[in-house]
Amino acid sequence: MSDDHDHDHDHDHDHDHDHTDPPSELELKVKALESLLVEKGLVTTDALDALIETYEQDVGPRNGARVVAKAWADPEFKKWLMADATAAIASLGFTGRQGEHMKVVENSPKVHNLVVCTLCSCYPWPVLGLPPVWYKSAPYRARAVSDPRGVLAEFGTALGEDVEIQVWDSTAEMRYLVLPERPPGTASLSEEELADLVTRNAMIGVEVLEGPVGAEDG
């Protein structure tokens, strides 16, 4: 595999092997299989459309951002979240597939958490949606567990030498959500405004959050 093959492959449409746009051989094969399965009564087109729509429009990292913002704003909720993440998250309406068994891991000035799945692509769907390409890529899966500081540097994240990094390799059906540190200068923000500051990448652990623009000195 060339260095950036996976990456280009997923992002661009000028693929360099068995299919080219438009329409690719694979695209046609997938259409043919869908028709076959519909004809055999094994799938329905409407259900396929509904599944896609769910993860394109409804279930995504804004859910996780709401969990994080509530944990920052509400100490009782945070206590519940750290003790029983599945139940606390369910109380906000986020449940189900690939989030059946949740655990929240909290960043602090001393500890930074990073989540990976070296064996496949385990990821907490109800709170983060479907994983980004890089999370599923071979380089991330390979190096998150052997060189986390190098991985963080590729995301522009530099941590002090005294910060302990904990890497969570999702080998079972436990799903991990990072609770980032609340950025400085956010004391007066509402829960909604706080949620707007929370990025998906911070909830995976490859970034630390910035405060609102202009708040660094405040």
Partner: protein, 226 residues
């Protein structure tokens, strides 16, 4: 032997080159959406479980697994499962007319997922905690060593952690055991979160700043040390 999906610690794979978060779409091509949805919808037919599904993607030539994009590997796994479970024939996959199924065949009894049920089945998910009739053999604080040998078939012991020594930090209760689940046997084993120091896992020459690795390991993967 380590298979191609078992990537932890591999070197030489190049930069991660993440797409910027605000501009990355959920899917990168129309066919990816369909492969994703077909895989979920066929999964709901109940003919295979999550570990069989993972194993179907893993049973590929290493070159192929690494060359394929993520959803291409899903595509390979889906076709394999449909064939192996007899839901489609090789002829049908290569464009031959649909073959009539014998009356009373398994397929006749399968009800496809319908749009009105999608939200409910996703919200329900598939919890894997199970009752178990024996107490855990390990306790929080125990020093443990991960099995050194590679079990045949599907397993969730990454290659890089085999033979390594860590400490039990948390007991998650009993969860479905993937090594057997991938063979269609749903049995429970105690699951533990185990912490490993990077210096106990990697050649310290290469990895100077120490960090902690946390992995979820089932009881049969672990040997208790005195």
């Amino acid at each position: 032997m380590r298979a191609a999906h078992d990537l932890g610690g591999l070197e030489g794979l190049g930069p991660i080159a993440p797409e910027p978060e605000p501009s990355e779409p959920v899917f990168h091509a129309p066919w990816e959406k369909r492969v994703f949805a077909l895989t979920l919808a066929c999964g709901f037919l109940g003919q295979w479980n999550l570990d069989e599904s993972r194993h179907a993607r893993e049973r590929q030539e290493p070159d192929e697994y690494l060359k394929n994009s993520y959803y291409e590997n899903w595509w390979v796994g889906l076709r394999r499962l449909l064939l192996e479970k007899g839901l489609v024939t090789a002829g049908e996959l290569s464009g031959a007319p649909v073959e009539a199924m014998p009356d009373g065949s398994e397929e006749k009894r399968l009800a496809p997922l319908t749009a009105d049920k999608v939200a409910a089945v996703l919200a329900k998910g598939g919890p894997v905690t199970m009752p178990i009739d024996r107490p855990p053999a390990l306790s929080v604080g125990d020093r443990v060593r991960v099995l050194s040998d590679a079990p045949q078939g599907h397993t969730r012991i990454p290659g890089y952690i085999r033979g390594r020594i860590g400490r039990v930090v948390e007991h998650h209760g009993a969860h479905v055991f993937p090594d057997k689940n991938a063979k269609g046997q749903r049995t429970a084993e105690h699951l533990f979160s185990v912490a490993f120091l990077s210096s106990d896992v990697w050649d310290s020459q290469h990895h100077q700043t120490s960090f902690t690795l946390r992995l979820d390991m089932w009881e049969p993967y672990l040997e208790r040390l005195a």
